[in-house]
């Protein structure tokens, strides 16, 4: 009896593992709302696509304007009516984006396990696990430690500090959905602190589709030089 149970458990784990490994492509409706420090708002709505093998985040924006943004390596390309309007540098590469973490099932530790940060302390409070990730010792490294809380292997919240321990940003990951063996937060709340003032951000995902067949060109938008 116990042997049978072990065999079934083994195949279940193998099945779930295979499922999560095979998630390589994500498409979702996305809404980004920002309340700036001066109480003005930015509101953006569209569709996001990401293929972790291609490593390009493609945003088909419908509001405020019909635009396409492509984040590839350290550049963001902006297109209007199929014409390249501008390109600018970005410190956030697609492989460090939330979409990559989600598909890699690295969301529980905010992708820090594969970064230069080191987990230096772990504490348990009730059903929550709190991990302190210590920043790399480099004189010019701009950020300090990062505190991450998770519950049932789901990332709950993140606090990013500066080098003096002052909070720069707090983020909450919530309304999880479980698709194709991966955990996906469908709402992210964030507060960014600037001394005495702060800005707020809400990111929402809807109509999430994993491993959309075909549509290869939609996931591999060919960027061109201006």
């Amino acid at each position: 009896m116990a042997k049978k149970f072990l065999i079934i458990s083994f195949f279940c784990i193998l099945f779930i593992g295979a499922f999560s490994q095979s998630s390589y492509r994500l498409k979702a409706d996305i809404t980004i709302k920002i309340r700036n420090r001066d109480s003005t708002f930015q509101y953006t709505k569209g569709v996001v696509r990401y293929d972790r093998n291609i490593k390009k985040v493609i945003y088909n924006i419908s509001f405020p304007q019909k635009e396409i943004y492509v984040s590839a390596d350290t550049t963001i390309f902006k297109y209007q009516n199929d014409k390249l309007i501008s390109k600018q540098g970005s410190p956030l590469k697609p492989e460090f984006s939330i979409f990559h973490f989600i598909l890699n099932n690295d969301i529980s530790d905010f992708g820090l396990r594969n970064s230069s940060y080191k987990a230096t302390n772990v504490e348990k409070t009730d059903d929550m696990i709190i991990t302190k990730w210590t920043a790399p010792i480099a004189p010019n490294f701009p950020l300090g430690n990062i505190i991450v809380s998770s519950k049932n292997k789901r990332l709950q919240s993140v606090v990013i500090q500066d080098k003096k321990g002052v909070i720069l940003s707090r983020q909450i990951f919530k309304k999880y959905t479980f698709i194709n063996g991966i955990e996906i937060p469908t709402e992210i709340l964030a507060v960014n602190y600037f001394g005495g003032s702060k800005s707020y951000q809400i990111i929402q995902f809807d109509k999430i589709l994993i491993n959309e067949p075909g549509h290869d060109s939609d996931y591999n938008f060919v960027t061109e030089k201006k």
């Binding site: 945003y59 302390n121 606090v159 500066d162 707090r170």
Partner: protein, 165 residues
């Protein structure tokens, strides 16, 4: 002679022990999770964030019912929905016109990273005001460096003069 060596060695060991203790203490405090840090990560008031966006709830509903409309479309029909709303797009976790690169003030980008920081702010934000702040940071760090250099040079010159006398 032997006594002097022993005394020096004892003093060296005492200093070594003291510095090791200090180092151990500082390591512990930097990696330990404080009660404040626990509260900062679990005691997060979500309602504060939702309340901050109450003013755009009408636009939320309108966009949910009218898929594909643009800012220009709404501006022509019902522009009260767009009060206080910018016509520029923003991307998740990116720096908006009001934001900073990685949440770090532009002044510090210029101050710490010099012209490289200035370039990062210019390229990422494309914002004249923030670039100006980075430039001020760059100038400030250069001035401080020059002052330190002059002070050290003057101190060295004074020391040399003392030796001459």
């Amino acid at each position: 002679m032997k006594q002097t060596i022993l005394k020096s060695f004892s003093l060296f060991l005492a200093v070594l022990m003291f510095s090791f203790q200090t180092f151990a203490f500082s390591t512990k405090t930097s990696t330990a999770i404080t009660e404040n840090e626990i509260q900062s990560v679990i005691g997060f008031d979500e309602s504060e964030i939702y309340t901050a966006f109450a003013e755009v709830s009408d636009l939320d509903q309108y966009l949910a019912q009218n898929d594909g409309v643009t800012y220009t479309d709404i501006d022509q029909e019902n522009n009260t929905l767009l009060t206080g709303i910018s016509s520029s797009t923003t991307l998740p976790f990116s720096a908006s016109s009001d934001e900073l690169v990685l949440g770090i003030p532009s002044f510090f980008w210029g101050c710490v990273f010099g012209w490289v920081g200035l370039l990062v702010v210019y390229l990422v934000l494309e914002n004249k005001e923030q670039t100006k702040k980075a430039l001020y940071g760059c100038i400030a760090s250069t001035v401080v460096s020059v002052v330190i250099y002059v002070a050290v040079f003057a101190a060295a010159a004074t020391t040399t003069t003392t030796y001459t006398y």
